[in-house]
Every structure is written in structure tokens, then in C-alpha cells.
């Protein structure tokens, strides 16, 4: 008991200013929480029940939902395998992630979805636990190569599944699904592009340097919303007529622009990492007889990227949040659908704040998981160094 009192005295009541701050803080928390909880418990949430499917996948036809489930299963297997391979099995963090993910699952799962959700949970747990049991390093190395390859072929595979055998038109993609796909593709495509541009920026070849600088600064020069908007009108003209590319869909155009934009930001971050590598590494590599490319791949890049991983993850979080800007192209992403529901459906008239909260919550769940991952990576790096 005295321990508690001492702790309170030290942390909350140390000085006059402290006491004042504690009182102010307590009032503030009370104010915000009471507003929030009264709102949550006194408002009518049927609008979410009715619109579950539309919020998550937009106008995606019912009979093709198995495609999305397949993609989701594969993604979760890949993700849980990667996490368990890198971190091993950790109870505390897993409980944390599961509890955070529980919120949207509870809100959005309906009875006919329950089997899919259970299957998903079983699959991810299986892959997570089974991989953590592999202790032998050589097996781990092979497994890591398999996983990296799988991530690399994930994008084309994703498209393949989604459009295989007369899949639904890309115009029907909508809801949270569109946000996730846009973010995943922007990240997976933007990362290698960004590394290439960073290498170009740091290269000693003056022309390559100039072109990279031009490209990076141009893309960072205008806000993303301007790029998206103009890409819509301007991009089709610049794409070649092969594969009827100049007719491509809005969602694909958004993907292209988002990838290019994220690559510019990743390039800046990786450049910072490249600059922080001591010159001795390069000299040692030359002494060992490695040429520039070998040295890059085996020495410089792994170190540079490892240093800037936390910053890259925060860039990815920013890209994920920026996918909500595609409303300007008329793409029905989660936020746009959320805003249209009170307008289009008479029975839910005037309930914009409820919808905004749910939409914000979905974004928040994904972002916080990503930022926790980045924080744990940071901690691991600091410990190991």
C-alpha cells in the first residue's frame, strides 16, 4: 500500500506545478472519455451492420468474394510466417496484436463469414507457431529465401487471382479492400524503385545523379492529391499504346502514381541510410576484390536498409493513410463510401460522425500495428548494436 502511495507522490504530486498538471490532465481525460463513450453508447450503429460488405469491399460481386478471401489467406500466411521467422514466438506481442485486431473483426464479422474468419485465424496461427519451431539455421535460411521470393511474386499473383477467369471489373473494387490493395502495391513496388533512385542519387555518375535528383524532387514537390488528380487526366496520354495501356483503369492509375510517389520518399530515406555507412566499408570491399555491384548488394544495401527500417515503416504508414486521397479520382475507397452512406441511404441520414469513427478505427488499427512493428524493430536494432 505504501508503495502505491509513494509512487503516486513521486509521479503525480511532486511539486505544485505537478499537482496542477495532474488535476488538469485528469479533467481532460474525463472530458474526452465521457464525450467519446456517451457518443458510442447512445448512437445507433445499425448502419454498420447493414453496410458491412459495402464498407469492406464496395460493389464487389458476392459470387467473387472467394478471390478476396484467397488473397487474404495467402497474405496472412505470408505475414505470420515472416513475423515468426524474424522474431520467433512471443506471447506478449501476439496477444497485443490479436487484441487490437479483435476490434474490427468483432464489428465486421457476420455469421456467414465466421467459418472464413476461423479458418484465417487457424491458418495464421499454424504458420506462426510451426515456423517458430524451426531452429536449425540452414533451414531458416532456405525458408527466408522462400518467403522473400513469395513476397516478390505476391503482386502479380494477387492480380492473377483477382482477375482469373473473368473476375469482376476493376471498377467494382471498392471499400477497405481498395485501400489495402493500393497500399500494399504502392509499398511493394515503391520500395525497390525507391532503392534504385536512392542509388542513383548517391551515384558518382553525374548524369544519373542529376536525373535521380530531378525525379525525386519533382515527385516530392507537389502534394499527392495534386499528382493523383493530374495523373487522371495526364497519365493516359503518356502511356504507350501497347496492351491498351492508355485505357487503363483508374485504380491502376492510382497504383502507379502512389508507387512512384512512395518511391520518391523511400529514396530520400534510403539515401540517408547510405550516407551513414562509414567509408571504410567501401574500402574494405574494394580490398576484398568485390566490384561495385557485388559490394552494393552484399555490403552497403543490407546495412543501409537495416538502419533506416523504422523510418521506412513510418513512410509506409503514411502511404497507407494517403490512400484515402483517391476519392478525388472518384474511386470508391473506404472513406468515400463511408461519406456516401448517410447521403444515399435515407434511413441513416445525418449519421456521418458514426461512419467517420468506424472508418477512422479501421485505418487506426492497421496503422498502429505497423507502428508497433516499427518500434519493436527499432528496439531490436538498438539492443543488437
Amino acid at each position: 500500500m505504501t508503495q502505491v502511495i509513494n509512487w503516486v507522490k513521486d509521479n503525480l504530486l511532486a511539486s505544485k506545478l505537478d499537482i496542477f498538471l495532474t488535476i488538469f490532465g485528469a479533467c481532460f481525460i474525463y472530458f474526452i472519455c465521457s464525450m467519446f463513450f456517451t457518443f458510442v453508447f447512445t448512437s445507433d450503429w445499425t448502419l454498420i451492420e447493414v453496410n458491412r460488405k459495402i464498407l469492406l469491399v464496395g460493389l464487389f460481386p458476392e459470387e467473387d468474394l472467394w478471390r478476396i478471401w484467397t488473397v487474404f489467406f495467402l497474405f496472412s500466411i505470408l505475414l505470420s510466417s515472416t513475423i515468426s521467422l524474424v522474431y520467433g514466438f512471443q506471447i506478449k506481442t501476439s496477444i497485443f496484436y490479436v487484441s487490437i485486431l479483435l476490434i474490427p473483426f468483432l464489428i465486421f464479422t457476420t455469421t456467414n463469414m465466421i467459418f472464413h474468419v476461423l479458418f484465417l485465424i487457424v491458418l495464421s496461427l499454424l504458420s506462426y507457431i510451426s515456423i517458430s519451431y524451426i531452429k536449425k539455421t540452414s533451414y531458416k535460411v532456405i525458408l527466408s529465401r522462400i518467403i522473400i521470393t513469395s513476397w516478390v511474386i505476391f503482386i502479380p499473383f494477387l492480380f492473377f487471382i483477382l482477375v482469373l477467369g473473368g473476375g469482376p471489373k476493376v471498377t467494382l473494387w471498392g471499400g477497405f479492400f481498395v485501400n489495402l490493395i493500393l497500399a500494399v502495391i504502392a509499398i511493394l513496388a515503391g520500395f525497390p524503385l525507391g532503392v534504385i533512385f536512392a542509388l542513383g542519387r548517391a551515384s558518382s555518375y553525374k548524369t544519373i545523379n542529376l536525373v535521380s535528383v530531378l525525379f525525386i524532387e519533382t515527385f516530392r514537390g507537389a502534394p499527392l492529391i495534386a499528382w493523383l488528380f493530374f495523373a487522371w487526366f495526364v497519365l493516359p496520354n503518356f502511356l504507350p499504346d501497347l496492351f491498351s495501356l492508355n485505357d487503363i483503369n483508374l485504380v491502376i492509375r492510382a497504383m502507379i502514381v502512389l508507387s512512384l510517389f512512395s518511391s520518391a520518399y523511400v529514396a530520400e530515406v534510403v539515401r540517408g541510410g547510405l550516407q551513414s555507412i562509414p567509408k571504410g566499408q567501401k574500402e574494405a570491399a574494394t580490398a576484398l576484390g568485390l566490384n561495385t555491384y557485388l559490394e552494393l548488394i552484399f555490403i552497403t544495401l543490407p546495412q543501409a536498409i537495416r538502419i533506416v527500417i523504422p523510418t521506412i515503416v513510418s513512410t509506409f504508414i503514411a502511404i497507407f493513410k494517403d490512400t484515402s486521397l483517391v476519392f478525388i479520382l472518384g474511386i470508391t475507397d473506404l472513406l468515400r463510401i463511408g461519406r456516401l452512406i448517410p447521403e444515399q441511404q435515407q434511413e441513416f441520414y445525418g449519421k456521418s460522425i458514426e461512419v467517420l469513427l468506424i472508418v477512422a478505427m479501421l485505418f487506426w488499427v492497421v496503422s498502429i500495428i505497423l507502428s508497433q512493428i516499427s518500434r519493436s524493430i527499432e528496439r531490436r536494432l538498438n539492443v543488437s548494436q
Partner: protein, 359 residues
């Protein structure tokens, strides 16, 4: 070991290339977008594709909206269905592409859609500058102003100094300014990108008035919790003839769209409805009706106007969609937009709905 890695990389790249190729080509087959070749006509493209791609609105009640089962419905939507029925014989073979007001013209010019029917106003600059052609006016609209009934405004002059909410990317902004500024009436425009913050602002009294096409005002007013709290001023700020659009230099398709609409107007004038079209087709009462429905009269040959679509296209249109009056009654009468005495009545009733002869 190093060379093994090289081989691995090569295999992975090859696999990726295969997947990308497969994805691209299979996407092409099932992909959306009216990828008509630059020289070919849209009609050929639609026939080859087996589907019509229509640019529409998705949040204007009565004209183009997505209902709770995820289906598009509305006045404009029905005309898409009519054109699909005429060309492909099936009014369900339509892909609807929802577009914002600012996106619509570019979508048409960029071949993303075959035709645009999205409560779009026919203006000189749009006809010329933006590379599209307006077909028949299906709805004679005008820009109006909606105000709260409690405000007591009765004319535009009385709104001196008011704040007006307006949606971006339409002629409404320019018309609004023309009406107010050139008459020396001070006002403040609040230009919004989408309707939801605009509606919230109007309802909370942030702005005194909401201006858009009267049809839009009627549909929004019907959606309010208490429609009688709002009133649409009698004055029309502009002429807003609404109708379908096709691309410039696309005369084959243009003619088809135009004459489908005329056909529906003529059908109403001749008294043909979706319920009696079958009997009228087998037993036309006069040569005009026979020509309209693509059947022979009194044992003669059906008239073929060489549109490039089946001769009896109007039968498919009327039986699957209806005539002009049926479409109007189905979607616009519930909004309170009555036809009597308005410009949208038949010419025989003093309105502007007039079809040139099918001859």
C-alpha cells in the same frame, strides 16, 4: 553458391514475368474500359464487346443512384438500359461507371466509357472544347436555388449578402456568379468538392442557400427529414438542358443513341407502352407505328434506317425499359417533378418533348 543464386534469381524473374503477362492478358479480356480503337466507331466496339459502358452518377436520387441491393437505378440509368437494349437486345448488358461532375468529360474523351449520361448540361463550350457531342435533351432543367422556408427569401434579389453553397466543377459556379455579380448583388460562394460536407453545411445554416440543377434540388429535398422546411425558389438561374453525350466524330453511335431517345418519345406520343408493345408490334395501327417498331405494315417490308442495329430495336427498348413517360413517371414523379405545365411535357401538351418522324 553464387551461381546458384543467379539461377534462382533468373527463375524468379521468369515466373514473375509469366504471372504479369498472364495477369495483363486475362485482365484485358475481362477488363473494363471502352477500349475502342482510335478510328473505329463506338458502335462496332460495343457490338464486339457485347456490353455497353455507361458513365453515370451514383448519388443523385432519381437520376442515377445505387440502391440498397447494389444496383444502379434512375432516369439516366434507364436511358443507358435503352441504348443497350437497342444495340445488344438486352438492357442488362450495361457496365455502369460512376463519375464525379469534374471527371465526366475526361472519362468520355479518354475512351473509358462509351456514352455519358449524367445530368450534364448542354453548353456551347462543352460541345466544342471538350471533344464530345450532345444528343437529344431528355430533361429540360434549370439551375435553381433552395433555401430554408424560415428564411423568407422569395427571389434572388432578396438574397443580397447571402452565403451560397455550390458544388465544384459544374456550370453552377459560373451561372451563380453571372446571376449575382453582374447584377451587383453581393454574395459569398462556398465551393465544395463533394455533396456530403455541402449538405451538412446547408442544413446547419452555414450557408443560406444551395444552388444546383432544380432536378438535383428536388431529389435532395425529398431526402431531407422534413422536406417542407425547405423551398426551391421559383426562379431559374439558367437553362440546363440535360441529355446523353457521345464522343466527337462518332456519328454512327451518336445516331443510334439519338434515335433511341426519339423512339421513346415517339412511343409515348403514339401511345405505345411496355405493356402493349408486343400487341402493337404484331398489329400496328398505322404506318408510323410500324416504322417505329421495325415491323411491316399491312404485309409490307419493315423500314430499315441502317443504324447498324436490329430493325426492331424499339421493341426491345420499349418492352424492357418503357417509353419516355414511363421512365419519367418511374423516377422523377416521386421527387415531385411533375410534367404538367413544365418543359418536359409532350409537345402536344405544350412542352418541348418532340420527336422527329421515323421515316
Amino acid at each position: 553458391m553464387f551461381y546458384l543464386r543467379n539461377k534462382l534469381v533468373a527463375v524468379v524473374v521468369l515466373l514473375m514475368a509469366i504471372f504479369v503477362f498472364a495477369a495483363c492478358t486475362s485482365e484485358e479480356e475481362s477488363s473494363s474500359g471502352a477500349s475502342s480503337s482510335s478510328s473505329g466507331s463506338t458502335l462496332t466496339t460495343v457490338l464486339e464487346r457485347g456490353q455497353l459502358v455507361c458513365g453515370v452518377n451514383d448519388n443523385l436520387t432519381g437520376f442515377g443512384v445505387v440502391n440498397s441491393s447494389g444496383q444502379f437505378e434512375g432516369f439516366d440509368i434507364d436511358y443507358c438500359k435503352a441504348v443497350a437494349a437497342a444495340i445488344l437486345g438486352d438492357s442488362s448488358k450495361v457496365e455502369y461507371v460512376p463519375l464525379t461532375a469534374s471527371a465526366r468529360f475526361e472519362a468520355l474523351a479518354a475512351n473509358e466509357i462509351d456514352m455519358l449520361i449524367r445530368n450534364t448540361t448542354w453548353t456551347a463550350s462543352r460541345d466544342r472544347d471538350l471533344g464530345n457531342d450532345f444528343t437529344v435533351t431528355t430533361f429540360y432543367d434549370g439551375q435553381g436555388m433552395m433555401v430554408k422556408a424560415s428564411s423568407g427569401y422569395d427571389s434572388i434579389e432578396s438574397m443580397s449578402g447571402a452565403t451560397v453553397c455550390v458544388l465544384q466543377g459544374t456550370t453552377t459556379e459560373l451561372n451563380l456568379d453571372d446571376r449575382f455579380a453582374s447584377n451587383g448583388i453581393p454574395y459569398t460562394p462556398l465551393t465544395f468538392e463533394t455533396n456530403d460536407p455541402l449538405q451538412a453545411a446547408y442544413e446547419e445554416g452555414r450557408c443560406d442557400g444551395w444552388t444546383t440543377d432544380k432536378s438535383g434540388l428536388a431529389s435532395k429535398r425529398a431526402g431531407f427529414s422534413n422536406p417542407s422546411d425547405h423551398v426551391v425558389l421559383a426562379e431559374t438561374l439558367s437553362k440546363e438542358p440535360l441529355g446523353p453525350l457521345t464522343r466527337d466524330n462518332d456519328s454512327e453511335f451518336y445516331d443510334v443513341v439519338q434515335w433511341v431517345v426519339f423512339g421513346m418519345m415517339q412511343a409515348e406520343e403514339s401511345g405505345i407502352t411496355s405493356s402493349n408493345v408486343a400487341s402493337m408490334a404484331s398489329n400496328p395501327t398505322d404506318p408510323g407505328m410500324a416504322r417505329l417498331l421495325g415491323v411491316g405494315f399491312d404485309g409490307g417490308e419493315p423500314s430499315d434506317f441502317s443504324f447498324g442495329i436490329p430493325v426492331d430495336f424499339m421493341q426491345a427498348v420499349i418492352s424492357q425499359v418503357g417509353n419516355y413517360g414511363e421512365v419519367y413517371d418511374r423516377h422523377l414523379v416521386p421527387l415531385g417533378l411533375t410534367r404538367e405545365g413544365s418543359l418536359n411535357a409532350q409537345w402536344t401538351d405544350g412542352g418541348l418533348i418532340y420527336a422527329p418522324p421515323f421515316r
